[in-house]
């Protein structure tokens, strides 16, 4: 290898990306050539400048601010009205609205029809995730339960209606349910906001009490 060849390989030499044979030839040339040793040293100094080029810290609180803003708006959607955002989210992501991920013991996630299996006479928390495209500060939520399934602590209440603030993204609602017999049924959840309404159905099945290998909880994404 002569000087011209070595200079042509200088980038790769510093990057460590020369094939072994070429690398060896370069090293042999460097032993005898002070000018190329100097060029190599100079290249290393130059790379050192690049690595040392300063990065000032971000402005105070940047990380929290950035995360907060990311949650507060959807990319490219700005501040659109509820109806537009709501309907487009439903149309574009119907599956996401209705799909339920059932979490089996051991963390195995199984995509399934929206359904949860309860164990007879045991209180079980069913998690519903309402995914909304923008803040809904005064939405009306309602839950309707089938006859044989109770909301823990409210045995006679078949329907609950209340006002809630939903925030952009996922809103988690944990509902403690007890099955009183083993017939199947449906939990119906509704979100209403300024004339728009979304209905979500969750299939509830009931198993006889067992101690292992049952589904403990389920997460429904509305």
């Amino acid at each position: 290898m002569n000087c011209t060849e070595l200079r042509a390989q200088l980038d790769d030499l510093v990057d460590g990306s020369l094939p072994p044979a070429v690398h060896e030839a370069a090293q042999r040339h460097l032993v005898d050539c002070a000018a190329c040793r100097k060029a190599l040293e100079q290249e290393r100094v130059f790379r050192g400048h690049l690595r040392a080029h300063p990065v000032p810290p971000p402005s105070p609180g940047f990380a929290q601010r950035a995360l907060h803003r990311a949650r507060a708006q959807r990319s490219g959607h700005g501040h659109r009205g509820f109806a537009v955002g709501f309907i487009s989210a439903t149309a574009a992501a119907l599956l996401a609205w209705l799909a339920v991920s059932v979490f089996l013991p051991g963390g195995v996630k199984q995509e399934a029809l929206p359904g949860v299996t309860l164990t007879l006479h045991e209180t079980q928390s069913v998690k519903l995730v309402f995914n909304v495209p923008r803040d809904l500060p005064d939405a009306t939520l309602s839950l309707q339960l089938p006859a044989h399934i109770e909301l823990a602590g409210y045995p006679d209440q078949r329907e609950l209606v209340w006002q809630a603030a939903l925030h952009t993204g996922q809103n988690l609602l944990t509902v403690p349910l007890i099955a009183r017999d083993n017939s199947a049924g449906e939990l119906i959840a509704k979100i209403a906001y300024r004339g728009e309404k979304k209905t979500f159905r969750l299939r509830l099945t009931v198993n006889a009490p067992r101690t292992s290998s049952r589904i403990r909880a389920a997460e429904g994404m509305v």
Binding site: V55, S59, A66, A70, L151, N171, L172
Partner: protein, 194 residues
Amino acid sequence: MATPIRLFRTSRGDDGFEPLVAPHLERLYRLAYRFTGNRSDAEDLVQDLLIQLYPRRNELTGVERLGPWLARALYYRFVDTLRHGTRDPLRSAVDEEILQDTADPRTSPEQDAENALLHRRLAQALAELNPDQRALVALHDMEGYTLEELQDMLDTPLGTLKSRLHRARRHLRAALATEPFVDELRVNKQRSRQ
């Protein structure tokens, strides 16, 4: 009405986005600063990326190596932003305020002045590169991603990466007046012919 239901928990981090992304923010900002050359554009770039990713947060949980994945997403965001002309690449030339802050207590005032000059020239020269070159120098020469990693990350063949880096470095070296030893090379060649 009062309900026994634990009503919507939407406090910070509940949606899983923050724990996923927060550990990578420092590096992302750093990279964004390398790409853009100034703090406010770097913050905007990271912010844009987070806004873009938030609705896809469920997808992020399935990403095996999130760091490189995010760096790649940031790169594409940067290149897209410049292509669509929403940011002025020349605006980012030099962040004067920052350069004032780089004085090192272990060095002499003369060295500080020299370093500041060097940083300024380098910042200027980086701003003159095209976005692809600049991003590549940032990722490889500044942040230490290997060419093999970048081949996958940027979907670009190794040869293209190398020649792009080569051109970029030539421009930067010239700006720092460290284009190596043209004269000596000529002298040396003559000598070797003798």
